[in-house]
């Protein structure tokens, strides 16, 4: 009986292994993702992957240039008064994927939906200054504001959805109704999304592979054609030596920093913050750990940003100066400065934290590293349960971030001033800049503000991480963008 049972089992093994599988379509171009997209409805999408994919499915009224200035996308605009803007839709715009023409009614539907409080769109706050949206004709629409804001056009970056689809109650997460260069083909499971390019029906599959090593191996074996970012440096270096793939990189603007808790008395002393700054060898970290086109940062806004400041004098790595500052602040070998340093459980972040811990130890600062999973770590940071922490700001476009992070009234839950930084001069400059309607003068005020922040060090600026892509050699046309979007997929082709 048992022998018979084993025989049946042996027969069942190959049968099982052939179930539920089919050969992959070799015409599909596959893009490896480190995280799955969650929402394909642009009125709700907030995570980076969803936002990048939404850009392929929908068009927006405005977009950004490399200096983060608003530029026309679906529409050109005209400021009729400080409180009124007129947008005229591009005549050669694409229609929706169901063939209907995109009109100002679709724009109004999209923004009215976001502004309706009961819909709980996460984009409502940035648009709440809109008093109403008025259709002038099918190609023209006007926005009336409650108060003047010179940055208003840069807020209109939400994908425009089809009014008819909304009226029919279509679930846009499952059936995106946009006018972008791509349309959804299939979403068989959360980690596997297929989009089709409208102009030539080329199919792209976005595959979520959480493990970076497995992602790399899939690329090498040809199961994936394109990877972008989110790989450890050593894997990128290994891939550079492989003939089957091509590695490209470009500068990015995602800002990494160390944040202090000013409620801890030792960090209220500027000499201590400066001592930490001088003790960290950022250039070596960039050269040996991050590499490529990662740049040492001096402020939250990169130098190429329209409000950025490229004249800020960089802090130099100077352990001697660091020890001297610590001594002035009352710390020495007998009474060393001690602190805990919180970071996420991401292995790469832990590695960087370990190096910084060693560099601080070299000047006599005793650092205890604490790492948690992202949700716990972030919860602690928001609640102010930290002394020193490391994080990054991703996708910064508007200088509004300066109020959100450094204004004394922006302490959580009202903002992200988690360290309770309080500098009246900084508060005044932020408020003055926000009132300034002239963009050049406004930029100048922000530049002054960045110098003060650089001197006062509520954050230790670390670096702007590079963007990189690794593409199989038979894939042509893929390029990196400044904000890491996937926009160039509209140009990609496979050459056999």
């Amino acid at each position: 009986m048992i022998a018979r049972f084993l025989f049946v089992l042996l027969l069942a093994v190959p049968l099982l292994f052939s179930q539920g599988c089919s050969q992959p379509d070799s015409n599909i171009i596959r893009f490896g993702l480190s995280s799955s997209p969650l929402r394909l409805d642009p009125r709700f999408a907030t995570d980076a992957t969803s936002s990048r994919l939404n850009r392929l499915l929908y068009e927006r009224l405005t977009d950004f240039d490399d200096a983060s200035r608003a530029i026309p996308s679906l529409a050109n605009w005209q400021q009729l008064s400080p409180l009124r803007y007129r947008f005229v839709l591009r005549p050669n715009r694409r229609s929706f994927n169901n063939g209907e023409r995109l009109t100002s009614a679709d724009v109004k539907t999209t923004y009215d939906f976001v502004l309706n409080k009961k819909n709980a769109s996460p984009h409502r706050s940035s648009l709440v200054l809109i008093k109403y949206v008025r259709i002038i004709d099918p190609d023209t629409i006007e926005f009336e504001l409650n108060h003047a804001d010179a940055l208003f056009p840069s807020y209109l970056v939400i994908g425009i959805v089809s009014e008819k689809a909304v009226q029919r109650g279509v679930n846009l997460d499952q059936h995106p109704a946009g006018s972008g260069p791509f349309t959804m083909r299939d979403w068989p499971e959360e980690g596997r999304l297929q989009l089709q390019r409208r102009r030539d029906k080329q199919v792209f599959e976005f595959v979520h592979i959480g493990d970076s090593t497995v992602r790399t191996l899939k690329l090498l074996r040809g199961e994936i054609d394109i990877l972008q970012n989110d790989l450890p440096r050593e894997l990128v270096n290994k891939l550079r030596q492989d003939d089957s793939v091509r590695v490209a990189n470009r500068t990015g603007s995602n800002f990494s920093y160390l944040g202090f808790n000013f409620l801890q008395p030792q960090f209220a002393d500027r000499r201590v913050r400066q001592a930490v700054m001088h003790a960290i060898d950022r250039k070596s970290l960039v050269r040996y750990v991050l590499g490529g086109k990662t740049r040492v940062a001096e402020s939250i806004l990169p130098p190429e940003h329209w409000a950025g400041n490229d004249a800020i004098k960089a802090y130099r790595f100077d352990p001697g100066q660091s020890r001297a500052l610590l001594k002035q602040a009352g710390y020495d070998a007998e009474h060393p400065l001690r602190m805990s340093y919180k970071t996420s459980s991401d292995p790469f972040r832990i590695r960087i934290a370990t190096i910084i811990q060693q560099q601080l130890a070299d000047v006599g600062i005793k650092v205890e590293l604490v790492s948690y999973d992202w949700a716990t770590f972030y919860g602690d940071i928001k609640a102010g349960r930290f002394q020193l922490y490391s994080l990054s700001w991703v996708g910064i476009k508007s200088p509004d971030i300066l109020r959100y992070v450094f204004h004394s009234k922006a302490v959580p839950p009202d903002g992200a001033n988690r360290g309770h930084y309080n500098n009246p001069l900084v508060d005044r400059l932020i408020e003055r800049a926000e009132r300034e309607a002239d963009m050049d003068k406004r930029a100048q005020l922000y530049r002054e503000l960045l110098i003060i922040l650089h001197d006062d060090l509520p954050y230790i600026p670390l670096w702007y991480e590079e963007h990189f892509s690794i593409v199989r050699k038979n894939i042509k046309g893929y390029q990196l963008t400044a904000d890491g979007s996937y926009d160039y997929l509209s140009e990609v082709s496979r050459q056999n």
Binding site: M1, I2, L16, F44, S121, G210, T213, E223, W393
Partner: protein
């Protein structure tokens, strides 16, 4: 038998209720906020509050729990906070992959462990025995997060026999099933060996041999059948575990099963999905154990379930 089934059904309901309460409380006690996970760092406070309100997360814990329980009674496991899809839909989408992987791993482990355990017991203290036990030790010691990538390197990248990961290719199941099945085969073969050794010393085996039965019949028909009870218990327990999703193996191989769904939901603090998956896993575990108990009666007719006489 009917009495046994009714008793187990009642205890299953109790387990489901207990698990529901525990999972609900534990996931809400864990630090971290699903709204933060969804909106990221730069979201404005008003948007956070609006979303919290829309999701009902601003209600008291008691109200949230009553809503969850009343939904459960109606068979409604709620909607994923992150993907806005019904939890039951997500579970149905992922379950086939997990069942496929669990059965394949179990199959591999049985195919390896039974002959190996019998060989080790019958040829005790020989090189066969030592070899089998060395494999067993190795299998138990190798963590799946190491064995998985090792198999990928050898069989996918090196030899090109199988795909690296995913479920969409022919042969996708082989490497994850071997990864998952190896440790189970190791434990199982040890269990078969020790159980069989115990039975081989029993009187009825000596009687069978004295009757002049061929050794093959004595071992496979008489001894092994009697040695199977503890093995079936272990298999039942392990199948329950496997059907709950093999988190590490599913992560390494991007296998779209319940384990990956659960771990992703925990990391995102997607409360309804965590509650739904753990509930389903618990029920699966209870049902598999009940079926295991019923198999006892088939393997050993002396065992009569639910009949103390």
């Amino acid at each position: 038998m009917l009495r046994f089934l009714l008793y187990r059904l009642f205890s299953t309901l109790l387990v489901v209720f207990g698990v529901s309460v525990m999972v609900f409380l534990l996931i809400h006690m864990v630090p971290g906020d699903p709204v933060d996970m969804m909106l990221g760092e730069s979201a404005r406070p008003a948007d956070r509050e609006a979303l919290r309100h829309a999701l009902g997360l601003d209600l008291s814990l008691w109200v949230q729990f009553s809503q969850f329980m009343s939904g459960l009674v109606r068979g409604d496991l709620g909607v994923s906070i992150h993907s806005n899809r019904p939890v039951s839909e997500l579970l149905l989408e992922r379950a086939p992959a997990t069942i496929e992987l669990a059965l394949a791993a179990l199959l591999i482990s049985v195919v390896i462990a039974l002959p190996m355990g019998v060989l080790a017991a019958v040829r005790r203290n020989t090189l066969w025995d030592k070899g089998a036990m060395a494999f067993s030790l190795l299998g138990v010691s190798m963590p799946n997060f190491w064995l998985g990538p090792l198999l990928i390197l050898i069989f996918s990248v090196g030899l090109g026999w199988f795909p690296v990961s995913g479920r969409e290719y022919t042969g996708s199941l082989v490497l994850p099933a071997i990864t998952l099945g190896t440790a189970l085969a190791a434990v199982l073969s040890r269990m078969v060996r020790s159980s069989l050794l115990e039975v081989l010393g029993e009187d009825f085996v000596r009687t069978a041999r004295a009757k002049g039965l061929p050794e093959r019949i004595v071992i496979w028909k008489h001894a092994l059948l009697n040695a199977l009870l503890p093995v079936i218990t272990l298999l039942g327990l392990q199948l329950g575990v496997l059907l709950g999703g093999a988190v590490i193996t599913e992560t390494v191989f991007s296998w779209p099963g319940l384990g990956k769904l659960t771990i992703d939901a925990i990391l995102r603090r997607d409360y309804p999905v965590v509650q739904g998956t753990i509930l389903v896993i618990s029920v699966t575990y209870v049902v598999v154990n009940m079926l295991t108990d019923m198999v006892y009666g088939i393997v050993d007719p002396r065992i009569r379930l639910g009949n103390p006489k």
